[in-house]
């Protein structure tokens, strides 16, 4: 991994990220955690007994662990009965809304299959791709995105089956009309 900037810039970027993620903590507690982490990094680099490089700073941060782990440890201690930890990050509600919206759109696209299967297939394919990419990249609500991707994928299959059925029905050779008996009158 390429690390850019000075050691202090790398460390400050980590601390800024941690500060943002600890938005739910009381200000005094947040500052105490940040000061302790800063001190830990200072001591860790000071133990090198030489001018630290940016690689040293990154190595110290790697040992410290991701800011997400620190926040999880903080959130874990907030409620002793907590078994499943949900880390509250800025914008979490918006991201949850987005994930639920993707599921809702996937379900709606199933209804579109009845009206216009070709349009539905395109929509479902797009939703499946978007949901899969989101599930891979998102740090939260990945199960919601995976559910949306599954629903959209099922929709793609259903729409494809409907389209193929319609086309095969149109391609079938036309049945000759029943001969209409002609009755001629007497004489």
């Amino acid at each position: 991994m390429t690390v850019t900037g000075t050691p202090s810039q790398v460390i400050e970027a980590y601390l800024d990220h941690l500060r943002q993620m600890l938005v739910g903590a009381e200000p005094a507690e947040r500052e105490e955690i940040l000061a302790s982490v800063r001190e830990h990094l200072h001591d860790s680099l000071g133990a090198l007994r030489r001018e630290p490089t940016v690689v040293d700073a990154q190595a110290a941060l790697d040992e410290l662990g991701p800011a997400e782990d620190v926040v999880r440890a903080w959130a874990d201690g907030g409620d002793p009965n907590l078994t499943a930890v949900e880390v509250v990050e800025p914008g979490t509600r918006d991201r949850r809304l987005l994930a639920v919206g993707t599921i809702a759109l996937s379900i709606c696209s199933l209804a579109v299959t009845v009206l216009n299967p070709i349009l539905a297939a395109g929509l479902q394919l797009s939703l499946a791709v978007i949901a899969l990419v989101a599930a891979r990249k998102a740090t939260t609500h990945t199960s919601l995105y995976r559910a949306a991707a599954t629903i959209a994928s099922v929709g793609v299959i259903v729409s494809t089956v409907v389209i193929l059925t319609l086309f095969s029905a149109n391609d079938a050779p036309a049945q000759p009309d029943e001969p209409v008996p002609v009755r001629s009158g007497p004489g």
């Binding site: 507690e29 302790s36 001190e39 830990h40 200072h42 620190v70 999880r72 201690g77």
Partner: protein
């Protein structure tokens, strides 16, 4: 058991025991963050990320199990030292007694299962 199951078990065990490991470390004398992290971190089962100690230390200070004081360090900025309080020591002793009984019970059950 899958890796995911193991990490979930480990996370649950750590949740209830790590703070007492910190108190046990401080029972040997006052210590600072990096020293606590490196000593406890030598036992890989206790935590994956050193940073997870700091919310815990902050909580232990708030609950009165540890106090902090600044001390001069050799050739560096002053360090925040954590020191066990009497409440912390009492909590540690209660844990040690309970833990032994608990661990014995769990071991007995597990031995019975494997027999």
């Amino acid at each position: 058991m899958s890796g995911l199951d193991r990490s979930a078990v480990l996370a649950n065990l750590r949740r209830g025991t790590l703070e007492y490991c910190v108190l046990a470390h401080l029972d040997r004398g006052p210590s600072y963050g990096l020293d606590i992290a490196r000593t406890l971190g030598a036992e890989s089962a206790l935590f994956d990320s050193e940073g997870t100690l700091y919310p815990l230390l902050s909580r232990l200070r708030k609950t009165g199990h540890v106090t902090t004081q600044w001390r001069e360090s050799t050739g560096g900025a002053p360090r925040r030292y954590y020191e066990l309080t009497e409440d912390g020591r009492a909590a540690l002793h209660a844990f040690v007694e309970t833990w032994r009984q608990f661990a014995d019970s769990v071991d007995a059950v597990l031995r019975g299962k494997s027999a």
